[in-house]
């Protein structure tokens, strides 16, 4: 630990972000570069951490601060608390990672009765001085003394009203003086003490307040969201004030070295003359675009432009700049790497490579998954959205925007969709019965559930925008209305959803389609050259497969065959098959299902010509295909009562039918269906189903092969926990494969493998690999079993609280838990490959599209990751980034 706790800007540099925070390090860097930065110094993050540990400023810190101030005083020929040439200071927080607006800033520190008069004399501008003072009093009162800002604003607004003015600038010097007096009275009343007049006291209190602000509520929430560790601490930057609000030759502004929205290579920003920094952001007056500065002062603009270029070249990135013009002189107050939209990120990364500003590898590193995500879904036209407030906001569960008419159940959705009406399915929550309605909807909106709810998972899988857990909704199925914040919407009313942000609008907004622009393609090309992992997609039909292929998928890693059975025309056949106890009826139903599945597989194979297609045999518990148990209990209870009261043979018949159905559903009911009769267990109890599925796959494959197509089916057996399960199921599969090949008289090479999604499968992977030609990690189930967390229950009942309380750092259903689940994966890969060298290993759980999980899979040496079609580009990027992180740095 360094013992030096105060660094003059002349002593630091850009590499010292850990110690000086981002702002401090870059202020030092700009000072080193000879750019005009008002002098100042930075108090280190270590001092902050020492403060957090003890609750007191570290001993001797203020001595170092005094020495720093002395250096400023010597530099500027001003002194703190000097009645003639007083030094005023800004005190700002500045952590390693930018946390905009999260912590506190105090400007104009050093003003008191004495220096106020001195400043007024010196500037000959009492209005400016009182304006500076009222700002200082409010900021200090709010930040340091903890007096609600609203109370200051109330005084200020009352004055404006009294004077009949709307703009701050219309207040006179006297008005401002009165306001300052009232502020001082407010402080005395609220804090019980007078406002501290001594600038040294002000400074010490301000430093302490900034340290304290590191742990305020909004900063902690922000860090949690952005995954910034709590123990970094913030630095404090103490800097000589320069003033943009002295007169009309002064001004202040913010600018980006390129357009952060489009990525265009041109200065972008805005400024205000005769204003202090906060005024630009506060929106009191409308600022001017930065290019207007050229007309106003060409030389100054050229100087600024030059500095922007210098900084961009120096930092090799698009920079976000703050500047102030004091009486025609330009000062840089901040520079940092600028935030950007997805579109801008991609364009700038690619163009900077073309400009030879950065190497390709750096371009890949700079774009994030979130950036690409923005590009891959329709967005609400920003012009349209900016005019409106969302009527409600839920959890952004599946990205993209959607416009459509409200429908309240899946069948209505399907009916209306057939008439080409765009629909949004609005439900309390969804379940497998709703899937056919989701498939035809533009978007899904639910009142309950989170990012891993059924609605969210299915919607992401299908690339359908979804806002989940929008708890302001009150759905009335009787009246077929949705109440939201006092508004009552009817079925058929228009809505717009923004699944990226979680917003819901009660208008029909304009959408912008996803653009896969030239820059995007270039970047993806570089990623493909760089990565080692192959990227596949999870897709259940030809349409999704084709989409995935357009996005660069190199195969299908998971086709969930059960989704084929949930479709409206098939569910009745499936139910018939399950409910009958007549073998002939069952066989007939199976054979109907076989032909529809075969058609599905043909479409899939055609879309994926020449690429491997992994098809998972039936996985979910059978009750998912049956009517809802609770609903049946209700119906039977009602019918029983009705029969007792009314009698009659026809009522009795209906009752009997329903009772029979209830008995069947009762028999299939399980206390913990997730760990019940599903996956390979189904294959062993009802071998007819997987035989039918295998025949459908192979008939499709053989048919296309005969037509000359290159078909590469891979049959995947789910939920294996013991090698003998796999051996038995495999025997059935192989028998059917041979049977169909013999029938078609054609050979289609087919691999048979298994999912690794049961802890025991991972623990006995060496045995299982003997019977499996590939492994695909089903990390959703593997996470469920390894943690003993039911995904359907955990989020609502305790997982959300676990994340809030930091019992868990990450949601293990979003990011692979490396210590637990990851360890099982490692065991499985190592021991599987030891038993069968070169065993192909992939992942097809939701984690396959999540960048940190992809990096982990890269490290494990998997062959591929598979994710939903819309995540494919993100996965290509993440795989490339993982490969770069592996390679020795090129500096």
């Amino acid at each position: 630990m360094s013992t030096k706790r105060v660094y003059l800007f002349t002593e630091g540099n850009a590499s010292m972000k850990d110690l000086l925070g981002g702002k401090g390090a870059n202020l030092a860097e700009m000072t080193r570069m000879g750019l005009p930065v008002p002098p100042g110094f930075t108090i280190t993050t270590e001092a902050c951490n020492a403060y957090q540990a003890t609750g007191r400023l570290p001993e001797g810190l203020m001595d170092e601060v005094r020495a720093g101030v002395a250096a400023l005083e010597a530099d500027l020929g001003r002194r703190l608390n000097d009645p003639e040439r007083p030094l005023l200071l800004s005190v700002r927080s500045g952590a390693k990672f930018s946390m905009p607006g999260m912590m506190d800033t105090i400007l104009n520190l050093g003003l008191n009765r004495k220096t106020l008069l001195g400043m007024a004399m010196e500037t000959d501008n009492p209005r400016f001085v009182y304006d500076a003072n009222r700002r200082f009093l409010m900021m200090f009162g709010d930040v340091v003394l903890g007096i609600p800002r609203a109370k200051f604003e109330a005084i200020f607004d009352a004055h404006k009203e009294r004077q009949g003015v709307t703009l701050d600038t219309q207040l006179s010097s006297e008005d401002l003086q009165t306001i300052c007096r009232e502020y001082l009275t407010l402080v005395l009343k609220e804090s019980g003490e007078g406002f501290p007049g001594n600038p040294w006291t002000q400074l010490e209190m301000a430093i302490e307040a900034v340290f304290k602000s590191w742990n305020n509520e909004r900063a902690r929430v922000y860090r949690r969201r952005e995954r910034i560790p709590d123990d970094l601490g913030t630095a404090v930057n103490v800097q000589a004030m320069v003033f943009g609000n002295l007169d009309d030759t002064c001004g202040t502004g913010v600018a980006f070295t390129r357009d952060p929205s489009s990525g265009e290579r041109a200065l972008y920003g805005e400024y205000l003359m005769n204003a202090q920094g906060e005024d630009v952001v506060a929106g009191v007056r409308t600022p001017h675009p930065i290019r207007d500065l050229q007309a106003q002062d060409a030389a100054l603009y050229a100087q600024f432009e030059g500095m922007a270029k210098t900084l961009e070249e120096h930092f090799r990135d698009m920079m976000d700049l703050e500047f102030t013009i004091e009486r025609g002189r330009l000062f840089m107050l901040q520079c940092r790497v600028g935030k950007r939209t997805g579109q801008a990120a991609v364009r700038m990364a690619v163009e900077m490579v073309e400009e030879e500003l950065i190497p390709q590898e750096e371009a890949i590193r700079r774009v994030t998954g979130e950036h690409l995500d923005q590009l891959l879904h329709p967005r609400i036209d920003p012009a349209a959205a900016s005019r409106l407030e969302p009527v409600a906001t839920g959890i952004p569960a599946s990205p993209g925007a959607a416009v459509g008419r409200i429908v309240l159940d899946a069948s209505t959705a399907e009916e209306w969709a057939r008439l080409d009406e765009p629909v949004l399915l609005v439900r309390d929550e969804t379940n497998p019965d709703d899937v056919h309605g989701m498939l035809v909807a533009q978007g899904v909106l639910t009142a309950r559930g989170g990012k891993t709810s059924h609605a969210a998972v299915v919607a992401r899988g299908f690339g359908i925008p979804c806002v989940a857990g929008c708890d302001a909704l009150r759905i009335d199925m009787q009246a077929r209305t949705v109440a939201v914040r006092g508004q009552r919407l009817k079925e058929g009313d228009w809505l717009t959803l923004d699944g990226t942000e979680g917003h819901v609008y009660t208008e029909q907004l304009k959408l912008i389609p996803p653009e896969v622009s030239g820059h995007f393609g270039t970047l993806m090309g570089w990623c493909d050259e760089t990565r080692r992992l192959a990227i596949r997609a999870n897709a259940d039909n030809g349409h999704d497969a084709a989409l995935a292929r357009r996005f660069g998928a190199e195969g299908i890693g998971l086709c969930r065959t059960e989704h084929m059975f949930f479709e409206e025309d098939r569910l009745p056949i499936m139910r018939q098959m399950l409910l009958t106890d007549n073998q002939v009826t069952r066989d007939a139903a199976l054979s109907k299902l076989q032909s529809v599945q075969q058609a599905d597989f043909e479409a899939l194979f055609e879309a994926m010509e020449g690429l491997p297609v992994t098809i998972r045999l039936l996985d979910p518990p059978l009750h998912e295909f049956l009517p809802n148990h609770e609903e049946l209990v209700r119906q039977v209870t009602e019918l029983r009562l009705a029969t007792n009261v009314l009698g009659g043979p026809s009522l009795g018949e209906v009752l009997e039918e329903k009772e029979k159905l209830l008995r069947v559903v009762d028999d299939m009911k399980e206390s913990n269906p997730m760990m019940g009769l599903r996956g390979v267990r189904l294959s062993l109890v009802f071998p007819g189903i997987i035989a039918m599925q295998t025949r459908a796959i192979m008939r499709a494959a053989c048919k296309l092969r005969k037509r000359g197509h290159d078909v590469q089916p891979e049959i995947m057996i789910p939920l294996v926990g013991h090698v003998r399960e796999l051996e038995r199921a495999r025997a059935t599969v192989e028998r059917c494969v041979e049977e169909v090949q013999a029938y078609f008289e054609v050979e289609v090479p087919v691999r048979v493998g298994t999912m690794i999604e049961i802890p025991r499968a991972a623990l006995t992977a060496g045995e299982i690999a003997e019977a499996a030609e590939f492994f695909s990690f089903g990390t959703n189930d593997l996470t469920q079993m390894t943690f003993g967390f039911s995904r359907d229950d955990a989020e609502a009942h305790f997982l959300r609280q676990y994340l809030e309380d930091k019992v868990l750092q990450d949601n293990p259903f979003e990011t692979i838990d490396q210590h637990g689940v990851g360890r099982l994966m490692k065991i499985a890969v190592e021991e599987g490959r030891a038993a069968r060298p070169g065993l192909k290993c992939g992942i097809c759980g939701e984690h396959g599209g999540e960048p940190r999980s992809i990096a982990f899979c890269h490290g494990l040496g998997l062959d591929y990751v598979s994710c939903s079609p819309y995540r494919v580009p993100v996965a290509r990027l993440a795989a490339a980034q993982a490969a770069l992180a592996d390679a020795p740095s090129e500096g």
Copy 2:
């Protein structure tokens, strides 16, 4: 593989059981010992396996058989198919492990038209010859030709009827001759061919039939039950016939060298004069006790007694003998180690050590867990049971017998029990709501569920006899009757259950209490000297703890605190606590629960004075304490309809109340409660509950400590998957521990540890050990999660089929799955102890009382196993056996 496939009895010995089967090896051994054994030879198990592989007798085998027969012929001066002195043979199966009655035997082989006449001349006893022939024809027809035995018996019985006789012996020579003729006609009709006359053909066919019988249905079922591998094969013993049915100087019998029922050191058995072996068993005539032989022929009896002694000393065990007397000459036909009851096993083992026949270690090895189990529960008086047929038989789910009156619900059980009526709770199946009724019942009988059903697990836990899955029962809750096989029993009728055998009797039978006799105590003492594992018990109250201590428990390994809440006087308080949204009401309920728990813990600590007591904090999902969801749905539906039809404010109020309850239960409902909000998760979401529990534990402990008792509480936190869960819960626990100790001003050392029952806990045991002072493996849950098998569902839906189809060799809920679950345990022990040297590790799942699992735990180096009180002696034995298996053999 040996190429020799036929061994004369003079060539083998007792150590060759693998090759010659048990029977063959011991016949050879007796021959070697010079005992009178009719000459013969054994065809090896390898020949059988070769037959199973190809479906044909191995090439050259019959040449070896002919050589073997030639040796017999030379020895006896008789020849096969010799019309004057024909050789007759017996052909019997004999596998490595005895499979009584499972495979086939043919006697008197070699008879045909020609030899028949020769034999008649030689013996001058045509009746004997035709009797031998009719036996041979039937056995050969049945076993070799596959003609149903019943058809032969029908002919035989028709003859007896026609002659007006009841005993076989009353049939004349002519009758038997007629029967033989009709048998031959039957064979011709059924098989389409004549009966093979050539003895060589007969022999070849008989050998093949015995080989085939290895794979008959009942043999396979038997092997599965007894865990005998399918690939051992059976040997075939071909032996010269001796005849117990030539005349009244002949006879046959079976005997044990000690009483297999009581273990008394005295010959025990029975015999019949003028009879062939099967007659003794068939019960046609009543055999005489073996001691009567002494009166009949003292010399012969002395000879037999001498042989029995010789054999017992030679084999150092109680032997089961078969003998035949041919015209006053004694022949030994079989000897094997005798099966025995539990009581006999213990007594013989201890007495043989006292007799210096075997060392102590051998005595420990000879007694099995099943043997002890028989001694540890009340049994039905065998005299009483032998008179009766059970009215139904279910799955023997919890051992011991019980007598009581039928009650059909838990509350009635409790009511009647209060009046000191012994009750048996009879239910379709049980759930946690029934526990208070189970606790007061003598026994539990269910119509559904298996060995791991709720009823079975709870009953075993409490040591209550239970017959589960008795599917002949039809319970009518309306009529309050139980129909079983046409009988209609009312609530209040008497029943007797045998939970060891699974039998149900509709009488009030006499029971014999468990005896912990002197021999038993001696054996347990030897076990305690030998074992390394400590044995604890799972007990939830002082009564069970005291029982466990009497059985030798060295502490409590698991006290399930939730059982305390299921009792009738506590459940309403628990519900009140969960259902209220008023903090004051909740605190009041918690405080009531705290006092009742404190009293429970005081009783437990008193019973376990000086020994450690591990108490698990609340584990099950909260909905288990609430009313049944389906029942509520039904009630609300009914009430809604009734309110609509009838109206009225009071009905409306009831409906509203029920609807509110349903909403709460709905909110707590989970799709997979086993992986939901339970265990430590409850502690983090509702910290009030574990705080209350910790206070109750510590108040009890401190109170007793102040009175001078030695109290050793260990607090166990269940379902931990991440170290931070444990840390958080631990913080609450420690705070309460300190608080109570400060209040009582006394120090009671308390350890805080965790269950390892989530795969992730095992995988991150190194981290978790940092926060845990002990580990206790909860192998029930660990098995559930590792396999992804819901215990509540698996058995009925697929696990039973898995075991039948041998997808799994063992039920992993009965025996620890060593490859999967065991590997996780190994990781946890190794890495836990690496992080915290000397970490105490135990097991408290159901497996803690299962011998093979105990052996595995011994191998893992666990410190203790914990099981239900009644399993404690079994565990002491199994732990000693495991230690012996570890130690170098003493030969």
